[in-house]
C-alpha cells in the first residue's frame, strides 16, 4: 500500500473518531435537555425571586450543607423515586372505605390504580411527591388536573415499617374518613413543607403550584441568597467578615439574632398561625411567604395565641368559622397541645421574656461535628445541641440551681425526677402518633389537671399516684395551695382515671406515657397491663396505636402482633388474646395491686369503678393534627 494512502486512512480514522465523539456528545446533551423538561402533572421547582437553592450554598458552606442534607428538613417534601418513596416494596394492595388500591412500579416511577369493590381497576395515576421522612410519609398522586395533588389515602409509618390509612395516623375521630382533600397539599401543606412555595390557585380544583426548592432548604431560614452570593464573590469582603466577625447583612444567620427573632425563624412554620385577612391569604397563595428571616413580623400571617390580646378580630373570625380550631390545638389555658407548633409554647414561656431564649438555646441546625454517624444521630435526636438532653439545657441560664438540684427537686440528683425538663417540659403535646415534650416551660400543678384536663408532670411519671398525693407533695415542697378534690381524685390513680375517662387526646398521652421507662420504673409495670390492653379497643386509632406500643415495652409482650387499624371485632379479639396471655402466661400469681390502681387482686378492673369512669368519659370529638 502506498505511504500516502496509509496516512489518508489514518486521517479518516481520526476524523471518524472525532465525528463519533461529537455525535455522542450531542445525543447526551439532547437527553440531558429532555430530562430537564419540567413535568406538568405536579408542582415543580422554579426560579422564584432571589432564591438560588441549596446547590448554590453548598460550594461555600460544605459543612452546613452536610448537616442540612442529613436533616429531616431536607426530605420533608421530595419527588417520588425508588429511594424517596419509603415502604414501596412492603405492600402493593390496599383497601379502605370500599375501595381497592394497587401500588405498582414501572421503571423508576410508581403508579396507583383504584377500583370500587368488585369493579375493574382504573387508569394508573403517578405517585409524584412524598411528604415526610421522619415519623410518617404521605405519598401524593397526580390529580390529572394541572399541578394539583391528591392524597394517596395511606401513609407509611416509618418506625413500624407499616402502611396505615392517613386518617389513622393522626389523632382523629373514628368517623373521620378522609384527611386531605384534592388540592389540600397545594392549598395548605406546601405553605410550610417546601421552601418558598407558591400555591397559585387557578380555578375549581386546579392549581399551578411551584416552589423555590422542595423540602425546607437553606433559604427558608437564611433568606434568599442571590445578593449574598453576588456580594461574596469578592474575596476581600469575605475575609473582612471572617477576620472581624462582623454580621453579613446580605443573609440572615439565626444564631446571631436576638431570641425572639431567632425563634420566629423556626416559628414561621413551627407554630399555630393564621392569615391576617383574605387579601393576605390570596397574596400568600400567589406569591408565597413575604416573611424575611431575621424579622418578627410574619407580614401576611400572625401567631395564634388564644390568650394574647392581639388579632382579636381575626381570632373571633376563626372561632366563628371553625369552632373547634382552638380546642383541637390548645389546652384550656392556651398552652399548645399539638406537636410541630413549638414556637407557641416557646413564646408563652417565662424564659422567652428574657430576650435570649430561642429554639437554638437547646437545638442546633448545624453541628460542628460533621461525621455522618454523628449527623445521623443528631438528626434522629431532635437536632439537639450537645448536653441538651441533660439539666445543662436549663442550667446554662439558671445557674443558681446547679448546686441545689436535690433540694429544689426533692428527688435524688441524677434521677429522672430531678431532671429539669421532666417537671417543666412534660410530654403533654401529641402528634404523629406520639407524645412529645411541651415547649412551654411551666411548673407542674394539680390545678392544670383539674381545670384544663392536662396531665401534670408529677402524675405523668408517678402514674400510680392520685391527684391528692401530688397536691400534698406540691403543697409541702413548693407551698402550692391544695385544691378541693373529688373522692376519685383522692383514691384512684390520676393516670387510671385519665386513660378511661379523659378525652381522646388525654387518653393518647397517658397510653404513650405508660410506655415511658422512667414512669414504669417508679410506678411499677404489673398494673399497667389491663389498662393498656383495654385501651387497645379505644375508638381512636391513635390511642390504640400508643397502647400497643406501650404494651410492647412490658415484659412478655415484646413484639406482640396487633393491627391497630383493624375492625372492631378484630380489635376485641386481639385485646382478648392479650388479656388471656397476660393472665395465663405473664402475670405472676403473687402479684399484688395497690388500692389506687382500681384493680382487683386477680388483676381485673374493679367493675363498679371502671363502669363509672367509662360512663364519665369525655366523648367530645377531637382532632389533633400536627
Amino acid at each position: 500500500m502506498p505511504k500516502s494512502s496509509r496516512s489518508t486512512w489514518q486521517g479518516v480514522l481520526v476524523l471518524a473518531v472525532i465525528v463519533g465523539g461529537a455525535v455522542m456528545t450531542l445525543i447526551s446533551a439532547y437527553r440531558a435537555r429532555r430530562e430537564m423538561v419540567q413535568p406538568d402533572n405536579r408542582p415543580v421547582q422554579a426560579t422564584i425571586g432571589n432564591y438560588v437553592t441549596s446547590n448554590s450554598c453548598r460550594a461555600c458552606h460544605p459543612g452546613n450543607y452536610a448537616s442540612w442534607h442529613t436533616s429531616f428538613h431536607r426530605t420533608m417534601t421530595q419527588v417520588a423515586t425508588p429511594a424517596s418513596l419509603l415502604g414501596n416494596g412492603a405492600q402493593t394492595d390496599f383497601s379502605l372505605n370500599g375501595r381497592d388500591y394497587k401500588l405498582e412500579r414501572s421503571g423508576d416511577k410508581f403508579f396507583v390504580r383504584t377500583r370500587s369493590l368488585g369493579g375493574d381497576y382504573g387508569e394508573p395515576r403517578e405517585v409524584v411527591l412524598v411528604t415526610g421522612s421522619h415519623s410518617l410519609q404521605v405519598p401524593w398522586l397526580e390529580a390529572k388536573n394541572g399541578r394539583t395533588l391528591e392524597q394517596f389515602p395511606f401513609a407509611y409509618i416509618i418506625a413500624e415499617k407499616i402502611w396505615a390509612p392517613v386518617s389513622e395516623t393522626f389523632l382523629t375521630p373514628p368517623e373521620f374518613k378522609e384527611y386531605y382533600s384534592i388540592g389540600a397539599w397545594n392549598g395548605a401543606c406546601m405553605d410550610c413543607h417546601v421552601t418558598k412555595g407558591q400555591s397559585r390557585f387557578v380555578s375549581g380544583d386546579t392549581w399551578d403550584s411551584r416552589v423555590a426548592e422542595f423540602g425546607i432548604a437553606c433559604e427558608a431560614c437564611h433568606s434568599e441568597g442571590r445578593e449574598h452570593i453576588a456580594l461574596n464573590r469578592n474575596p476581600l469582603r469575605r475575609f473582612k467578615i471572617h477576620l472581624t466577625n462582623k454580621v453579613d447583612p446580605s443573609v440572615t444567620n439565626p444564631a446571631r439574632l436576638a431570641g425572639p427573632e431567632s425563634g420566629m425563624d423556626c416559628g414561621q412554620c413551627h407554630s399555630v398561625w393564621a392569615y391576617n385577612g383574605m387579601e393576605d391569604k390570596l397574596d400568600f397563595n400567589r406569591n408565597g411567604t413575604a416573611f424575611r428571616p431575621g424579622h418578627l413580623d410574619l407580614i401576611q400571617r400572625f401567631i395564634v395565641q388564644p390568650n394574647s390580646p392581639d388579632h382579636g378580630e381575626q381570632k373571633d373570625f376563626i372561632r366563628e368559622r371553625e369552632p373547634d380550631f382552638f380546642h383541637d390545638r390548645f389546652w384550656g389555658d392556651g398552652m399548645v397541645r399539638v406537636t410541630g407548633r413549638e414556637f407557641n409554647g416557646l413564646q408563652s414561656s417565662p424564659c422567652f421574656r428574657g430576650g435570649n431564649f430561642s429554639c437554638i438555646s437547646c437545638h442546633e441546625m448545624h453541628p460542628t461535628d460533621t461525621r455522618q454517624v454523628s449527623l445521623t444521630n443528631w438528626a434522629r435526636n431532635g437536632q439537639l445541641r450537645p448536653k441538651m438532653e441533660s439539666d445543662e439545657a436549663c442550667l446554662q441560664c439558671h445557674k443558681q440551681f446547679a448546686s441545689k438540684i436535690e433540694s429544689h427537686t426533692h428527688h435524688p440528683e441524677g434521677s429522672s425526677g430531678s431532671r429539669c425538663y421532666n417537671c417543666h417540659m412534660p410530654n403533654t403535646t401529641f402528634g404523629l402518633l406520639h407524645a412529645m415534650r411541651s415547649h412551654q416551660v411551666s411548673s407542674p400543678s394539680v390545678r392544670e389537671s383539674l381545670d384544663y384536663g392536662r396531665p401534670n408532670a408529677c402524675n405523668l411519671c408517678h402514674l400510680n399516684q392520685t391527684l391528692a398525693w401530688t397536691a400534698d407533695k406540691l403543697h409541702n415542697w413548693y407551698n402550692q395551695p391544695e385544691p378541693e378534690l373529688s373522692s376519685d381524685d383522692r383514691t384512684i390513680a390520676a393516670s387510671a382515671q385519665w386513660i378511661i375517662k379523659g378525652d381522646a387526646g388525654l387518653r393518647a398521652l397517658v397510653a404513650w406515657g405508660m410506655g415511658w421507662k422512667p414512669a414504669q420504673d417508679i410506678s411499677g409495670r404489673d398494673w399497667l397491663y389491663p389498662y393498656l390492653i383495654y385501651t387497645m379497643t379505644d375508638p381512636y386509632a391513635a390511642v390504640r396505636f400508643d397502647s400497643w406500643k406501650s404494651l410492647q415495652t412490658l415484659p412478655g409482650f415484646s413484639g406482640f402482633p396487633f393491627t391497630y387499624t383493624a375492625d372492631d371485632r378484630a380489635l376485641k379479639e386481639s385485646a382478648g388474646g392479650a388479656l388471656q396471655k397476660w393472665l395465663r402466661e405473664v402475670k405472676r400469681p403473687d402479684t399484688t395491686f395497690e388500692q389506687q390502681t382500681a384493680l382487683q387482686p386477680d388483676g381485673r378492673f374493679q367493675r363498679a369503678v371502671f363502669e363509672r369512669l367509662r360512663n364519665d368519659r369525655d366523648n367530645t370529638p377531637i382532632l389533633l393534627s400536627e
Binding site: A59, G63, A66, S67, H242, R371, Q372
Partner: protein, 136 residues
C-alpha cells in the same frame, strides 16, 4: 556554592518533605481522621492536598532549574534562584496554613501567601525561559 546547587539541594529536600506530607495525608485518610475527612472539612482537605501537590511540583521545578543551568552551561541568576526557592516555600505553606483554620468554603488567611508565591514563580520561570532563549 553555585546558585544551581542551592536549588538542587532545596529541591531534593523539599521533595523529601512534601512526599512525606503525602504519606501523612494518606494516613489521615486511612484512619478517617474527622479533622481531615469530615464533609465539613472539605476546604481543609483541599488546602492540604494543594499544599502537598504544589510542594512536590515546586521541588521538581527547583531541581529542573538546577539541572537545566548545568546542562546548558549558564549561571542561574541569584534573584531567580531565590524566587524559585521562596515560591517552593510559600506556595505549600500558604495552602497548608490556609487549611489549618477554615471558614466553611473559604481557607484561612494563610492562603494569601499563595499569590505572592505565584508572582515569584512566574518571575523565576520567565527569567529562565528568557535566559535560555538568549543562549541560542
Amino acid at each position: 556554592m553555585k546558585t544551581s546547587d542551592r536549588n538542587l539541594i532545596f529541591g531534593w529536600w523539599s521533595l523529601v518533605v512534601f512526599l512525606s506530607l503525602g504519606g501523612v495525608l494518606e494516613m489521615l485518610h486511612g484512619f478517617k481522621v474527622g479533622w481531615y475527612v469530615d464533609v465539613g472539612n472539605e476546604m481543609r482537605r483541599l488546602m492540604f492536598t494543594l499544599a502537598h501537590a504544589h510542594g512536590t511540583a515546586l521541588a521538581l521545578v527547583n531541581i529542573a532549574a538546577g539541572l537545566t543551568t548545568r546542562a546548558k552551561g549558564f549561571t542561574l541568576r541569584s534573584s531567580v534562584s531565590i524566587s524559585l526557592i521562596w515560591a517552593g516555600i510559600l506556595f505549600p505553606m500558604g495552602f497548608f496554613l490556609g487549611g489549618i483554620v477554615t471558614y466553611g468554603g473559604d481557607p484561612g488567611v494563610g492562603v494569601w501567601l499563595v499569590p505572592i508565591a505565584a508572582v515569584l514563580l512566574f518571575y523565576g520561570v520567565i527569567r529562565i525561559a528568557l535566559d535560555l532563549s538568549r543562549l541560542r
